[in-house]
Structure formats: C-alpha cells, structure tokens
C-alpha cells in the first residue's frame, strides 16, 4: 500500500516538475539560452501571489496577476538583457553568467523584502484531503496534477496546431533560415520566454500552496527539470514532461529500496551514465 501512496506522491511532484521542464525546454530549444534566471521567475510567482492574497485578493485572481507579473519579468529579461548580449555576439558562457546574475538579483530582492523564512499560504482549502482508493491526496496536490496535465496538453496543441507555435518551432529548428525568411527570431524569443515564464508561474504558485515559499528554493527544481529536458530530448514537450514525471516517481519509489540520502545522488548518477550512452536524449527530434 505504501508504494501506491509513494507512486501518487511521485506523480504529483513529477507533474509540477514536468511543467517547469516543458517551460525551460521551450526557452532552451528556441533561444539556446541556458536561462538559469528561470528559477528566479518560478520563485517570484509564488511570492507575488502570496502577498496579493495577504492583501485580500481572492486566490484565483492572485494567480492570474502573478502570471502576468512573471510574463512581464521574463519578457523584460530577454528584451533588455539577452537581446543586448546577443547583439554584442556574446557566447553561451557569458549569457549563462549574466543569467546567474539575474537569478541572484531576483532571489535576494525576495529575501530582502520577505526575509528568508519559509512562508506558508493562509488559505485553508489546499490542506483538505480526500481519499482516492486508499491514497490520500490534498486538494492542492489534485489541483497541481490537473493544471499540469492541462498545461501539457495546451502547449502540445499550441506548438503543433497554432500559427505562432509553428513559427516558434521554425525559429527553433533554424534561426538563420528564419532570419532570412523574416520571421524575426528576436521577437519570437521574447514571446517564447514570456510564454514560458507564464507557464512556469503555475507550479511556482501552486506548489508553495502546500510546501511553503523559500527565496532560494527554485534552483534544485530547475536543475532536475533541466535534466528531464535533456534526457527527454531538447525541444520535445512530451519527452520533457514524461521524463520529469519518471524522475520524480523513481525518486519516490527508490525510497522503498534505499535510504533517501542517496536518491538525488543516484538520480544524477543515472543521468550522467545515460548521457554517455544516449547523448541525444530519448525523444530527441532528429
């Protein structure tokens, strides 16, 4: 029975992680920018929502406003920083370091304003639980799963059915070609990061609803998500999502056979080995 409950936990964590992975994959596949600051945007979303709710804004509205805020910040980073850097023909390394700078800025603004203490959402509904065939899940967890699956489906549709989505995939597959066919990659980049920031805000708000807020929390999440992205094959929405869920489920179930100190270590060990033998990921396109 424990394994079933653990499985459920894994699925919840995995879904949230999956959304982060998709959003990062969207950015990385299109812009080739290792957007570490994404972790900052993720964290920021939660805090914005939290303080709005403190000021009596109803939860759903708070979520929407938080999403708006994240979108704006994401677009700003691309337009004001990455775009400039690329105009100066900066290398990956330079952009990565700049991104780390942004991360530090966001995290510490948060830490300065809200103190580094763990904050808990006041809202009571998230804590209520219901039993699905003996497996106990909280409303918040249920919501996370539903929203994540919806997001996953939505992005799939967006990427393959809508014009903008196709345009983005075109730029992703060949920026140079896109350039000469006047698809204006830079505009697309801004849109992509904006969308990704909006998307990552969902878990950014919902997860803290049950796990609380911490200014320096986002990095590990992003890193695990990145691994899911790579292992799943950059650019593959399904790959990122599935791998994220798989990783989370494995980490949870692994507790049955080994002490938890090692679960993270083992995850990365498997990943490193995996990279040696399948450097292009599972669902890699081409």
């Amino acid at each position: 029975m424990i394994w079933l409950q653990l499985l459920a936990q894994g699925l919840v964590t995995g879904c949230a992680l999956g959304v982060v992975a998709i959003s990062f994959s969207l950015i990385y596949a299109t812009t080739r920018i290792f957007h570490v600051a994404h972790a900052g945007v993720y964290t920021m979303g939660g805090y914005v929502a939290w303080s709005l709710i403190q000021h009596g804004v109803p939860d759903p509205l708070a979520l929407i406003l938080a999403i708006a805020a994240c979108t704006a910040v994401g677009a700003l980073i691309q337009h004001q920083l990455y775009h400039r850097l690329e105009r100066r023909r900066a290398t990956q390394l330079v952009i990565l370091i700049a991104s780390l700078g942004v991360l530090a800025v966001i995290q510490n603004i948060i830490a300065a304003v809200y103190t580094p203490n763990i904050l808990q959402f006041a809202s009571a509904w998230g804590g209520r639980t219901l039993s699905l065939g003996g497996v106990l899940v909280s409303y918040a967890q249920l919501l996370i799963v539903l929203v994540s699956l919806a997001t996953y489906g939505g992005l799939l549709f967006f990427a393959h059915r809508t014009l903008l989505g196709k345009r983005i995939r075109a730029v992703a597959s060949n920026p140079f070609l896109a350039e000469i066919t006047r698809l204006q990659p830079q505009d697309v980049y801004v849109i992509v990061i904006a969308i990704a920031s909006a998307v990552v805000c969902l878990p950014g708000v919902l997860v803290p609803f049950e796990l609380g807020l911490q200014p320096y929390g986002g990095v590990t999440v992003l890193l695990t998500a990145t691994i899911a992205m790579i292992a799943g094959g950059v650019g593959s929405i399904t790959g990122a999502f599935v791998l994220a869920v798989a990783i989370a489920v494995l980490q949870n179930l692994s507790l049955l056979v080994m002490p938890g100190e090692w679960s993270i270590g083992v995850t990365f060990f498997i990943f490193v080995i995996f990279m040696l033998f399948r450097p292009r990921g599972l669902f890699a396109a081409g």
């Binding site: 424990i2 409950q5 936990q9 103190t115 763990i118 909280s138």
Partner: protein
C-alpha cells in the same frame, strides 16, 4: 597587460586596506562585539533571527546608557554558513575591529573558527548550534545552550518511560540534523528503546510525505525529528496523510507558526527552557514584525551573559579581552538571563522540559536539568 594587472591587484589591496581604515569607527569609549552568522542563503532563516536577538539585547542596554557608560556596538558579518567566509570574517573582526567577543551559530563555521579563537584568545559565543563536537572544540568556545545530546538523552528517557519503545528517525541531511540522528541512534537504545527506521530530508526541501510514508511502513510508536526548518509543512503533511504514530523531537520544534497550527496537536518535544516576558516578546514583534522565536531568545540570552561578564571586567578595571571575559564568566558561573544557566564546563547546564503542543499552545508537562 602586466601593468594593468598590477594596477588591478594594487587597487584591490588598497581598497581593502581602505576598508580597514574606513570601517565604521566609533566613539572612543564604545566597546565592539562581532557576530559571524549566516544572513543569506538557506541558513539565513535562522541567522537573521539570531542577529535580531543580539541586536535587541544590545539596543536595550545602550538605551539604558550602555555598560557603565560604554555604548556597545555589534559588527555583523555574513558567512552564508560557509567555513572559509567565516574564517575571513573572524579575522576581519579581530584584526580591524579588535573585538574580544564573536557570536556564532551553525556547527561548521563554528568548528572552523574555534582554532583561531584559541590562538587569538577571543571569546566565541555559540547560542544556536548544538552539535556535540562543539562541547570541547576550544576552551574559548562558550555554548549557552545544551548540546543536542543532552536534550536527546532526556527525550529518550521520557519516551521509554511512556512505553514508546519503537522509534523511527526523520532527520535533516545537514550537520545539525545528522548529529541529532547519531544521538538518537546512540541514546534511544541506551534508554531501552529501539530504532526501527531512519529517513533523511534535504535541507530547505519541504515535501516530507515520501519520508513520512516510508517511516510509517515500519509502523513505529513514535517518529523522532531532527530537523531545523519546515516543521509546519511537516505537521500539515502528517495530518493530511493522517499518520498514526506519535511525533517527538528537540528544541528545534519550538516554532511558533507550527505550535499555532492545529496540525501539530499532540507533538512532543524537549525544550531548552527559555521564555521571554510577554512585554519583551511584544516589543520584539513590534520592532521586527516577526515573533521572538527560539533563536532570537537564545541570542538575546547569550548577549546578556556576555554583557554581564563585560560589566564585571569593567568594574574590576581590567582590560576588555577575551581572556578576561572568559575568566569573569567562570567566576560568575551562575547566570540569570532569560533562564538560569550554570557554566561548569564551556557548555551551560540549563533546565530542559518536555512540552506538548495542543490547541495552539506549547504546554510544559515535565522538567529535568540537562546534566
């Protein structure tokens, strides 16, 4: 290129030397303390509270005109809970500010500074970290609260007496958490109980469900905790999964929001006795907007101890040095800060109580001394 490099290094060194000179110089008669605490990073949660505790105590004294006419100034350094930064900060405080007392928290940094404290005869005052290694790390390292070991000995005895024999350990995978776990492993069997399982949680990571579930699998009577943060989340998840076992732990558990939350009903923990008078707690909350939690109280308490020693040293017209302060401390031996303390060794012997959380309050149900 080479010229450029020399200019660069020279300017940096100049600037540093500058920082030596420029570092805030105070009225000649003011006395300076130092504090090396984790003010940023995951450790910042506790570090800031510790800082506030010291600040609160010192402001109080300064408002009353200082220690026989001397204003007290505390220089805070951020070590991000890292040993190398701590050593740098320690040397900075001692060389540039000539402090004779350095407050510290966190085992790692404290252990890194201990040898320096011995060599330079600077009083190193710890009121937060409880790792057992701290007990004899340096003659100049003073711990104003008992080690985890002392607390866990008490807790183990209590649990055994309550017939909670089968214990499982949930510990935070960091210095404090692990040394706590090691004590449980040693002391619970010693008290006649047995350890049926143990599971770590990553520091700063607040999803305890997997760990709780796994521990529940070995159906223990009690799960003993060794975690310093995220207790509220743990309590809520414990309720959500509606676990049957009892939850017990040490002073780390005395976290106001958790106590206030109904989810923590029935949690048991040892408590290094420390209570702030209601009005003090109120003023603290007014000043910082957050409750005067355990660490704030501890560092307030530690500050009063140091200030008492300082008063003695000044009264005897002796030079304010770590050495003299240390002698004073052992001459006074018995202190009445927020609680009575006695220094037979470097580690204060204080009262340890057993508390139970219920309907938003933390009630004492038993009291023992830490020796």
């Amino acid at each position: 290129m080479v010229r450029r490099y020399w200019i660069g290094v020279a300017s940096i060194l100049a600037a540093l030397a500058g920082s030596a000179v420029a570092s805030p110089s105070f009225a000649a008669d003011s006395i300076q303390f130092g504090a090396v605490l984790p003010l940023t990073g995951p450790g910042g949660v506790i570090g800031t509270q510790e800082q506030r505790g010291i600040e609160f105590a010192v402001d109080e004294v300064n408002a009353k005109g200082g220690v026989d006419g001397h204003q007290i100034v505390v220089q805070y350094e951020d070590n991000q809970a890292k040993p190398d930064q701590s050593v740098l900060s320690f040397n900075k405080l001692v060389d540039l500010q000539h402090v004779s007392v350095v407050f510290t928290g966190y085992s790692g940094p404290t252990l890194a500074m201990a040898p320096l404290a011995t060599r330079k005869k600077v009083l190193l005052v710890n009121a937060g970290a409880q790792a057992d290694k701290l007990a004899d790390a340096s003659p100049y390292l003073i711990n104003t609260l008992p080690t985890i070991g002392d607390e866990i000995k008490v807790l183990s005895k209590y649990l055994a007496s309550e017939g909670k024999k089968k214990a499982a350990i949930l510990f935070e995978n960091d210095a404090a958490g692990i040394s706590g776990r090691d004590d449980y492993l040693k002391l619970i069997p010693a008290a006649g109980g047995e350890i049926v399982a143990q599971e770590p949680s990553q520091f700063g990571q607040t999803d305890y469900r997997p760990a709780l579930l796994k521990l529940a699998g070995s159906n223990p009577d009690v799960v003993v905790l060794s975690i310093t943060a995220g207790l509220l989340q743990l309590a809520q998840q414990y309720r959500q999964l509606d676990m049957k076992f009892m939850v017990a732990g040490t002073t780390f558990m005395a976290d106001p929001p958790t106590i206030a939350d109904p989810a923590s009903k029935g949690f048991i923990h040892t408590q290094v006795q420390i209570d702030a008078p209601a009005d003090m707690a109120a003023n603290f909350k007014k000043k910082y907007g957050s409750d005067m939690d355990f660490f704030a109280k501890q560092y307030y308490n530690a500050a009063t101890v140091v200030l008492t020693c300082l008063a003695k040293v000044l009264k005897e017209k002796k030079e304010v040095s770590g050495e003299n302060l240390r002698t004073a401390l052992f001459e006074i031996r018995k202190f009445q800060g927020l609680i009575p303390m006695e220094f037979k060794t470097n580690t204060a012997a204080t009262a340890i109580g057993i508390n139970m959380m219920s309907d938003g309050k933390d009630q004492r149900i038993k009291e023992i001394s830490s020796e």
